[in-house]
Subunit: 251 residues, 4 copies
């Protein structure tokens, strides 16, 4: 999995503080700016976060480029509706020898690993066989132009991809505003989230912490900021989870 | 594919006319209702549709139950963000001998069909082998309670499903308001849409036409209401497409 | 203020239970329905609410007709973006002797009440004077058709309404799905919310409780379900607030 | 009215081209970047715009600071739901001698102007009288701390503002992504839009054209890109409107 922070709102913390101040002040923006020291920005951002006043957070956003997640993972990812996505199309792009994601538990289990790799290989072969069978039928006794051949191939790969496994890797660009992103982190860095989207969320969190350490200081699963929101479905590991997110995720 | 209209706003056309009248009238709702004959409702709904004044359309919504579409299709479906979804989870539900969708072009091509069915069978076997290998490892030299075994199985199927193909069938409940639904029909009944989601959209359209023929009278691809919006990417079959949607889709 | 529940999803609790069951069950809808007793529905809805698993709640929605709230209130109301609105237009509707909302604290204070009523009356006169002055100018030395006179009047009221006060009453139709509605109740029934939108939220809550007592059993400000989310900005009256919402709002 | 482009996504056109290319290419982002000349970016952006493929446009966004629009205008503005707002609160900010917006047709009509200014003045007086009457009542025979006095004042201005007119000026920060912004321009630069929000939209369009001339080349009312979408409600001035937007708005 590769996660890159492709673009984000510069001076975003300042923008948040400006927005928040605007709501409660007689002053216009010019006057607000004159009194907005970096310390004041920090103080404001911290106050908003702790009070859960999230609307000023919407003014700034983050764009990620993600490569090497599975289609199982991307199907979960795009369920977050307050976000924008551009994803590599399996309909338009011919993917011979596709990349794939192997779950860690399968990687570590020799028998499972063998079964898995074998299944992937056969899917790759089936894909190629299907493209070939469909194209041969389309070309039989015909003299197609290059353009017609391209159209034929497109139709063939559109159908052949039905044998691609969930493990098949995809590429996607994701943009979320800060409010939506914090919610994403809350849901998906939780230990009860599925391992792959959890890894994705953690990588994304690492990236944004590099550029805005303060804004994401308390970002992570709900249990960082109160009791476990999962109730009796809790993972039961609050202490470890808190230590991981608050102590730095790099070790 | 099975599509069922599970629930929808009753007296929805009346609600739309009420909402639209409210905007432009001094009268309150009571007085509006007194002057709202069925003919008046029809006239209003038609006028709004033709002017593209869509906001009153948002007050009514439609819930569908869909069974037997592929995960390739559901991944596209959930990209429509102004909608609500509840989908059968591959993480929580063990799916031995899963159902699957076979693309028509593959169904009709004997060689492709053979390759496809064979691939599906091997995926089913790989899934079962993976679940078994992962569970055996987890149980080795241990005496697990039933609860622990369940947890173990859940983790195993969560990973084993990475070999499921796109063709794997899923079940999903979808709710959209009328405005969002009309947009969905516009995008997805177009001949350039992928065949499976196009079939889904057409089935959904048939269902809602049964209960509100007038509301969906002009629903369908953009070319029903003007020139092809795809420009030079057009399918070039406007005449046939119009005949299909305006002449009744049953033949 | 008049609040009417105009339309809502029938069998909504059942729909929620179906949606939730679908996610975690191998069964299709038919089988799910066979095992869905009213008690089972209740149990499911309660479980989802307590776990905060809100997505199945989105499948059902509620439409309200609201009359006699101020434009100050409607400006706040339409800030809730996951909702649909149709509001009486001040641009299109001539409102001589407009209705208005008088804040209770002003109603009770004789001096303030006098100032307020006087201000309203003068605004009504200014509105009429402005419409007249603008129309006279437009008609001077001209022989307008009725259609031209109507267009002229429309332009005049569009501008004259700039003297309407925030207190001016409006009519609006609102539709929200259950998830969004519960969030609205959480924000707006809080004692720290502005009194008018709080009254509106409480009236709406009363209406929906009549048709779905169980679904809205725990609806209300955040402090009904945990500590005050406003932190040190708390109203400090948790006990009274809880008694009010849990003991019945009718006294 | 003052409109300032406060923040926006840098290299936004490149981001759009990257997103679009990602969907249809086998290549990862690195390889895409290597082949992305400024000309190629321009070509892609133009193609997407003309085809109406809007989803890659969502990755970039624009934040505006707006001062001196009326509350009549801001009430319309916040109806655009795919956007984020932070607005100066009339509940929290005491606004003696508030600024206001005077409609041009009223400004030009001496009689109307006099009525209007007079109405504004009396509203300002009524506001101050109300604050005073409410505070006097609250302080009568009591010895309030400064904090209690502040709370009292806050409650007073919260109610006194009910006499503020629609003309009362407000300050607001708005953020929209490009897709939503283009839709806003389509709706609100139309001659049939109300004059004040139309002026706002035109000012916003001027600001963004300075930083991304190509992206907004065809932005404006629907009639720039086809027949008038308003049908028989058309303003009938397509030629003038097109000349205005396509010839430069500065004269």
């Amino acid at each position: 999995m590769k996660v890159e922070l492709l673009n984000y709102t510069k001076d975003g913390d300042k923008l948040i503080a400006q927005a928040a101040k605007l709501c409660y002040s007689e002053a216009g923006l010019k006057e607000i700016n004159e009194n907005l020291s970096p310390e004041e920005v920090d103080r404001f951002v911290h106050m908003l976060t702790s009070l859960g006043h999230m609307s000023p957070m919407e003014h700034i956003s983050f764009s990620f480029y993600v490569e090497g997640i599975s289609r199982a993972c991307s199907h979960q990812l795009v369920r977050h509706r307050l976000a924008s996505y551009s994803q590599q199309s399996q309909r338009y792009v011919r993917l011979d020898d596709f990349d794939y994601v192997i779950p860690p538990a399968i990687e570590k289990n020799p028998r499972a690993r063998e079964v898995f790799i074998e299944a992937i290989k056969r899917d790759q072969e089936a894909y190629e066989d299907l493209v070939q069978a469909l194209m041969e039928e389309g070309m039989k006794d015909k003299n197609l132009t290059d353009k017609e051949k391209n159209a034929l191939e497109k139709r063939a790969i559109e159908d052949a991809r039905y044998v691609f496994p969930n493990a098949c890797a995809t590429k996607v660009m994701v943009t979320m505003n800060l409010r939506s992103l914090l919610h994403f982190f809350e849901m998906r860095t939780c230990l009860r989230a599925q391992w792959e989207i959890r890894n994705l969320a953690i990588e994304m969190l690492k990236e944004v912490k590099k550029v805005y350490p303060l804004l994401f200081q308390e970002a992570g699963p709900g249990c960082l900021r109160g009791p476990c929101p999962e109730g009796k479905m809790t993972c039961g590991k609050i202490k470890e989870v808190r230590a991981y997110f608050q102590g730095g995720q790099d070790d």
